[in-house]
């Protein structure tokens, strides 16, 4: 009798002990969820070439053909006076013509000079603007490359978050790939997910879609340049394929 009593006490105590232990494990045993993500640090060097094309100025100098002077015809007629008069008239005429011609020539020359100057000025401006254009293009290229890098790192982040939130359906196999389009708002919140290209396995597609919905918000996107966001992350297409599967 005393024995059976002590046995029941012992059984009770032992069970209580083990249940308490199991309960303690159940409550307290959680692995540290914080995972430190090491971002690879790299220094990128770029070769920026600022060498606009040098244009050789080619001022064309037009040689102006000179009009041959008219040779007055001297006629030794009988009427010397008349002749003389006529001669004088002709001479005056000639002189006037000569003068006019000279004047004209001077004007023409001035005009030509002015035009030449204008042309040179235009050429200079054109060169300058060309240089500026080249510079701008170069800058745009650099900017685009930087944007590309930033976009890639954000895209990688999204992909990583997807795979963190992804739960593997039993039908998932290596080599499957689903292209999804995630629509985002500037806070990084996911507002819509559509499958663009199915992997052929609807369960897998759904799981990827679910992963995107489960990620809910990509907080890191808030730090992004708004212009870049508008340009590339309003809608972002992500291809997802499982990495380390056992099958």
């Amino acid at each position: 009798m005393r024995n059976s009593l002590s046995y029941s006490v012992a059984i009770l105590l032992s069970l209580v002990l083990h249940i308490a232990l199991v309960g303690a494990l159940f409550v307290n045993w959680q692995p540290e969820t914080e995972r430190v993500m090491m971002q690879p640090q790299y220094i990128e060097a770029k070769l920026v070439e600022l060498a606009p094309k040098k244009k050789t100025p080619a001022p064309k100098l037009k040689s102006k053909p000179k009009a041959p002077p008219k040779k007055p015809r001297v006629d030794l007629a009988k009427k010397k006076r008349e002749e003389k008069k006529r001669l004088a008239k002709v001479a005056a005429q000639k002189k006037a013509a000569e003068k006019k011609r000279l004047e004209e020539e001077r004007l023409k020359k001035a005009e030509q000079e002015r035009q030449e100057q204008q042309r040179q000025e235009a050429e200079r401006q054109r060169k300058e603007s060309e240089f500026a254009e080249a510079l701008a293009a170069e800058q745009a290229l650099v900017n685009a490359r930087e944007d590309e890098q930033a976009a890639n790192s954000y895209r990688q982040l999204i992909q990583q978050r997807l795979s963190e939130n992804w739960s593997r359906p039993p039908s998932a196999r290596l080599g499957m790939e689903t292209l999804i389009r995630i629509r985002l708002v500037p806070t990084g919140r996911v507002v819509g997910v559509t499958v663009l290209k199915s992997s052929g396995d609807s369960a897998f597609d759904r799981s990827v879609e679910q992963a995107a919905l489960k990620a809910e918000q990509f907080v890191e996107l808030q730090a992004m340049d708004p212009a870049l966001f508008e340009k590339r992350f309003r809608q972002v297409d992500v291809a997802f394929s499982p990495e380390d599967l056992r099958l």
Binding site: M1, A10, S14, W29, E164, D244, L245, R246
Partner: protein, 229 residues
Amino acid sequence: MIEENLSIWSLIANASLLVQGVMAILFIASVMSWVMIIQRGLYLRSAQRGFREFEDAFWSGVDLASLYTELTQKAKQQGGTDGIENVFRSGFREFNRLTQGDKADPDAVMEGADRAMRVALSREDEKLNISLPFLASVASVSPYIGLFGTVWGIMNSFRGLAMVQQATLATVAPGISEALIATAMGLFAAIPAVIAYNRYAALVEMTNSNYETFAEEFSSILHRQVHAH
């Protein structure tokens, strides 16, 4: 990487059937060994206490016959006595029976009483030693059982690793972790059992030698009585 829920429960739930079986065995072994530990602890403590109390009563100069009747009453009430009281009762009963006839041979009386006490002693020894072998086997075997579960689990997890092209730590780590739980459980069952076994073995030995010493002393008292006539 897939976010794995690495709580100990999901690890146990995802373990292979054999490893789960090993874990179940170890858990049951642990529960049982704790039952034994507690029960034996209580029993041995009460045996020690009973011995001290009885010795106090015995050497207080009380009449042996009245002590005997008192103990018999107690036995009737509680459905039996334990430990040293049994040794005393069986020895004294045999002595009384043998000395009832006047022509009792003193040597025969002594021999009979001694034998009765020896029998009682060996009964008590048996009672003290109950379930100590179980504790000993849990102590020595459960680490091996746990190790077996671990080896099996790691074997499976490496076999899984062989199928993967990109072998990352994350593909093997959960498997190894779940396998190691078996070893942990084995040790968890074994360590208290080892401690308890060692402690209780020493206690049983001490109690036994106490009983034997008392039996010798009691035998010498009876010897004096039977030869004084």
